[in-house]
C-alpha cells in the first residue's frame, strides 16, 4: 500500500541513498527496543540528541563552508539514542557535541578521523558517571537480533561495505572460540558471546561507517581485525563492558596510516554527492 502510495520509483529513489536506509533501520531498532524490549527511553533522549546534533552540524556547516545536510547528524543522534544511557539530557547534548564537533575539528587529509558516535559515547562515559552503556539491554538471540542483523545487512549492502561487519564478526568469533579452546571453556560460552544483540548493532551500524574505515580493501580488513583484537583484549582483560566501541576509537588513528601504506584504489566522491559534509554512506570507492 505504502509502495503504491509513494510510487515504486520514488521509494527506490529514497532508498538509493544508503543513509536513508540507515535512518529507517536505526529508528526501527529504537522503536522496537522501546516497545518490545522495554528500553528505558525517556522522551528527551531522542529529542535532545537530534536537536543538538543537527544544531552543531548546522554551526559547523556555516563555519567551515560545508553545505548543510541533516542526514549525517541524524544518523549520529539516532546511534547515540540507541547506545548511550544518561541520567539527564545534558550529557546527551554533550555527547552529540563531541560527536559532531569531532567531525569538524579532528580531520586528517580532509576526512574526519574518529567514528563520531563512538567517540561521543566513549568520552562521555569515561568522563561522567552519569553516562553509561547497557550492552546487555538486547539480551541474546531472539528475533530482535535477526531483525537487527537483517536491517543492518540491508543498510550495509546499500553502503557496499558488507565485508566490514562480516570481517569484524568473523574476527570476533575467532577470538571468542579461540579463547574458549585455549582455556577449556565449553562452546556454549563463545556461542553466548556471539549472540549478543549489542555486538550485531555495533558490527552493522558503527564499524560499518565507510567514512572512518581505510579505503583499500586489504587495509580495511586488517584494520577491522585490529579493532576486534583491541576490543577483545579490553573486554576480557580490563572488563570494559563495551570493548568494541573503545576498540573502534583506539584504532581510528591507524586509518590515515593504512591509507598512506595502501594507497590504491584512489577514492573520489560519487558525483551525485554534494562535496563532503554528509559522510556516512556517501563516499564510494571508484578506481580511477
Amino acid at each position: 500500500m505504502l509502495v503504491r502510495l509513494m510510487g515504486m520509483s520514488s521509494l527506490k529513489r529514497t532508498f538509493a541513498d544508503p543513509r536513508h536506509g540507515q535512518i529507517a533501520a536505526l529508528s526501527c531498532l529504537i522503536l522496537l527496543g522501546s516497545i518490545i524490549y522495554a528500553f528505558e527511553m525517556p522522551w528527551w533522549r531522542p529529542i535532545t540528541g537530534l536537536s543538538a546534533a543537527i544544531f552543531v552540524q548546522w554551526i559547523a556547516a556555516r563555519a567551515l563552508g560545508w553545505g548543510f545536510d541533516w542526514r549525517s547528524p541524524t544518523i549520529s543522534a539516532l546511534s547515540l539514542t540507541l547506545l548511550l544511557r544518561t541520567d539527564g539530557p545534558w550529557l546527551v547534548v554533550l555527547a552529540a557535541l563531541i560527536a559532531i564537533g569531532s567531525k569538524a575539528l579532528i580531520r586528517v587529509n580532509g576526512r574526519h578521523l574518529f567514528n563520531p558516535t563512538a567517540l561521543g559515547i566513549v568520552i562521555t562515559v569515561l568522563a561522567f558517571p552519569g553516562a553509561w552503556i547497557s550492552p546487555g539491554q538486547w539480551g541474546t538471540a531472539g528475533w530482535i537480533v535477526i531483525a537487527a542483523a537483517g536491517c543492518g545487512l540491508a543498510v550495509t549492502y546499500g553502503a557496499r561495505r558488507l565485508e566490514v561487519p562480516l570481517c569484524f564478526l568473523a574476527a570476533w568469533a575467532a577470538l571468542c572460540f579461540g579463547r574458549a579452546l585455549v582455556i577449556g571453556d565449553p562452546m556454549a560460552i563463545p556461542v553466548h558471546q556471539m549472540s549478543s544483540g549489542a555486538l550485531l548493532v555495533f558490527a552493522f551500524f558503527m564499524i560499518s561507517d565507510p567514512m572512518t574505515a581505510p579505503w583499500n580493501q586489504r587495509a580495511r580488513i586488517t584494520w577491522v581485525c585490529v579493532v576486534a583484537a583491541i576490543a577483545f583484549a579490553l573486554q576480557t582483560s580490563w572488563i570494559v563492558t563495551a570493548g568494541p566501541l573503545y576498540g573502534l576509537v583506539l584504532a581510528a588513528p591507524l586509518v590515515p596510516l593504512l591509507n598512506a601504506l595502501f594507497p590504491a584504489p584512489v577514492a573520489r566522491w560519487r558525483p551525485s554527492s554534494p562535496a563532503s559534509s554528509q559522510p556516512k554512506g556517501a563516499p564510494t570507492c571508484v578506481p580511477s
Binding site: Q137, A233, I239
Partner: protein, 505 residues
C-alpha cells in the same frame, strides 16, 4: 597509555586467557550427604576496584559436612577474610524485599485515605557442604595459605590442572560433583586460586552459633563480575541467585545478560495479603519465563538513606560497614530502651557494657531507677547486640551515599553459560517491586456516591483478578473462586469465556 595499548593488542592477538579477577562460590558436599545448592545470597560492595563480597550460607545439614570452594583472584591474606552475622543479610533482604502496599478506600460519602505497608520477605534457600591435604606436589596442588577465621578453616589452593585438583579434593574427602572438572580447569587456566572453606568444629562449638555465618572477602579487582559457573555443576536444575550490590553511583545491571525490572505497582486481590509468599514466587517464576528463561530481574534499586514504603528500616551505618561499605563512616549512635523498674546497671548488664560508662554518658548514676520506655544513649566504642538497640544515623539527613540494587536470577548451565559481568550505571532512579491491595469501603452509609461506588466494585475486582492471573499465570477461575470466598465476587467471567471453555466457575 602506550603500554596499555601494546598489552591489549598482544593479549588479544594470542587469544591468551585473561587473568580473571573476581569470584563467587560453588559448593561441594563431603561424604554421601545428598546436598545441592538451590539458592545463593551474595552481597557485593564495590567502589572503584575495591570489592567486598559477602556470601550467606543457609546450610542445613551437619556442619562437619560443609565445604565451599570458590575461585579467587589472588592468595588472600588473613585480614582480607572475615565472618559476619546472618542477621545483616536478613535485614538487607527484608529492606529490599518485594512488598505489598495496602490502601483503604475512603467512604465515598466523605474523603479519607489510609495507607499501610506490609513487608513481605521472600526468603530463598541455599545449601552447602567440607575438608584436608595429601600428595599435593604430585597432583600439582599447592596450599598457598591456611587460616582459621571464625568457625571456618580456610585453605587457599593453587593448582596446575583440574584433574590434580579434583583428585586432591576427592582424596581429602570432598565430593566433587560430576562436571566440575572442566569448570575448575577453566578457572585454573585463567590463573585463579581456590578458596576452600570448611567448618572448624571446635571453633563452631565454642562460638555458640546454631547456623554457619556468612563469609566475607575483600579484594581489589578491575573486573566487576560474579562467577556463577561452578555453582551450576552440583545443582539439580535451576537455582536462584539473590545478588545485592552496594555502590556509590547508581544501580547495577548485568552487561552480558538482560536486566529487566519486575512488574510493579499493579493492584491485586486483597485475599493475597495472607499468602503473599506463594503469589510472589509465581509472579517471579512467570516473569522469568517471559524473559525467555535467561534474564536477570531487578527487584529493588534505592538510595540506602531512606525507603517509601519501608519493608524494613534502612541499614544503619554500622551494618553497612560490617557488610564492607568502606566509604561510610561508622557515625551515629545506638540507643536502648529501659523497661519499667530497670536500673542503669541492669540495662548495662543486658548490653554487656560497664554500668559506669552507660551512666556517665547519660548523666545518670549507676543505681538510677529508670522509667519504662526511657531511652538511653549507648556510649560509643562498645560492641552491643544489635537486637537490643536501635541505631540512630548521624545527623546529616540520613544521606549515606550508598545505592542498593537487588538482582534476582534463576539460572542453570544452559540459560546462563557465562559468569555474570556487572556494570554500575549512573541511574539513581528508585525502583521497587510493589503490589497494591485496595481494600474496598464496606460501610453502610447511603448516598448516591456510595451507590455508584458499590456498583463499580465487581468491575474493579474482575480487573484485579485478571491482573493477578496475568502476573502469576494462575488459573483465573481459581482466583475468582478465592475472591468470591473472600466476599469480593468479581464481575466475571466475560460472556465469551463461556463459549468454548467448559470449566465454569
Amino acid at each position: 597509555m602506550r603500554a596499555f595499548l601494546k598489552a591489549a593488542v598482544f593479549a588479544a592477538a594470542l587469544a591468551l586467557p585473561a587473568t580473571a579477577n573476581a569470584f563467587c562460590g560453588f559448593y561441594v558436599a563431603k561424604g554421601d550427604a545428598d546436598l545441592f545448592n538451590e539458592a545463593s545470597k551474595v552481597v557485593m560492595v564495590r567502589d572503584g576496584d575495591r570489592t567486598v563480597i559477602t556470601m550467606a550460607n543457609d546450610f542445613q545439614g551437619e556442619v562437619r559436612d560443609f565445604a565451599m570452594v570458590i575461585p579467587a583472584p589472588t592468595v588472600l591474606k588473613r585480614e582480607q577474610i572475615h565472618v559476619t552475622e546472618n542477621g545483616i543479610i536478613d535485614h538487607l533482604d527484608a529492606y529490599t524485599a518485594p512488598r505489598l502496599v495496602e490502601y483503604f478506600d475512603e467512604n465515598p460519602c466523605r474523603r479519607l485515605r489510609m495507607e499501610r505497608t506490609l513487608g513481605a520477605t521472600m526468603s530463598m534457600v541455599e545449601d552447602v557442604p567440607a575438608s584436608a591435604p595429601v600428595e599435593e606436589e604430585r597432583l600439582g596442588v599447592t596450599i598457598e595459605a591456611e587460616y582459621t577465621v571464625g568457625e571456618y578453616d580456610i585453605l587457599i589452593l593453587s593448582a596446575e590442572e583440574s584433574d590434580g585438583l579434583s583428585t586432591w579434593l576427592t582424596q581429602n574427602g570432598y565430593r566433587i560433583p560430576d562436571g566440575a572438572g572442566p569448570v575448575l580447569g577453566s578457572y585454573i587456566n585463567q590463573g585463579m586460586k581456590f578458596f576452600v572453606a570448611r567448618v572448624n568444629l571446635k571453633e563452631h562449638a565454642s562460638s555458640g552459633n546454631a547456623f554457619l555465618r556468612p563469609l566475607q572477602i575483600a579484594f581489589e579487582s578491575k573486573k566487576f563480575m560474579l562467577p556463577i559457573r561452578l555453582g551450576t555443576v552440583n545443582s539439580k536444575g535451576k537455582q536462584d541467585l539473590l545478588l545485592w550490590t552496594l555502590t556509590r553511583t547508581g544501580r547495577v545491571e548485568t552487561a552480558n545478560y538482560r536486566t529487566q525490572r519486575m512488574p510493579t505497582g499493579q493492584s491485586i486481590p486483597t485475599y493475597v495479603k495472607d499468602d503473599f509468599g506463594p503469589a510472589y514466587k509465581a509472579i517471579y517464576g512467570n516473569a522469568v519465563e517471559r524473559a525467555g528463561g535467561s534474564g536477570v530481574l531487578m527487584e529493588y534499586a534505592w538510595d540506602m538513606g531512606w525507603c517509601d514504603p519501608c519493608a524494613a528500616d534502612p541499614l544503619s551505618n554500622k551494618q553497612l560497614r560490617e557488610l564492607g561499605v568502606f566509604w561510610v563512616e561508622g557515625g551515629g549512635y545506638a540507643t536502648v530502651v529501659a523497661g519499667s523498674g530497670d536500673l542503669v546497671s541492669s540495662v548495662a548488664a543486658r548490653l554487656g557494657i560497664p554500668a559506669a560508662a552507660l551512666a556517665n554518658h547519660n548523666n545518670l548514676q549507676t543505681n538510677s531507677e529508670l522509667q519504662g520506655g526511657q531511652e538511653l544513649i549507648v556510649p560509643p566504642g562498645f560492641d552491643v547486640p544489635d537486637h537490643l538497640v536501635r541505631w540512630v544515623p548521624p545527623p546529616n539527613g540520613g544521606a549515606v551515599d550508598v545505592f542498593v540494587t537487588r538482582l534476582h536470577a534463576r539460572y542453570d548451565a544452559v540459560s546462563f553459560p557465562e559468569d555474570l559481568r556487572l556494570i554500575e550505571t549512573g541511574d539513581r532512579q528508585n525502583f521497587q517491586g510493589r503490589y497494591v491491595l485496595n481494600h474496598p469501603w464496606m460501610g453502610t452509609e447511603q448516598c448516591p456516591a456510595a451507590d455508584e461506588y458499590r456498583k463499580s466494585l465487581p468491575d474493579r475486582w474482575e480487573d484485579e483478578a485478571q491482573t493477578l492471573a496475568s502476573l502469576t499465570g494462575w488459573d483465573i477461575t481459581d482466583i475468582r473462586a478465592e475472591m468470591t470466598k473472600a466476599g469480593q465476587k468479581p464481575d466475571g467471567p466475560p460472556w465469551w469465556e463461556k463459549i468454548w471453555n467448559e470449566r465454569e466457575q
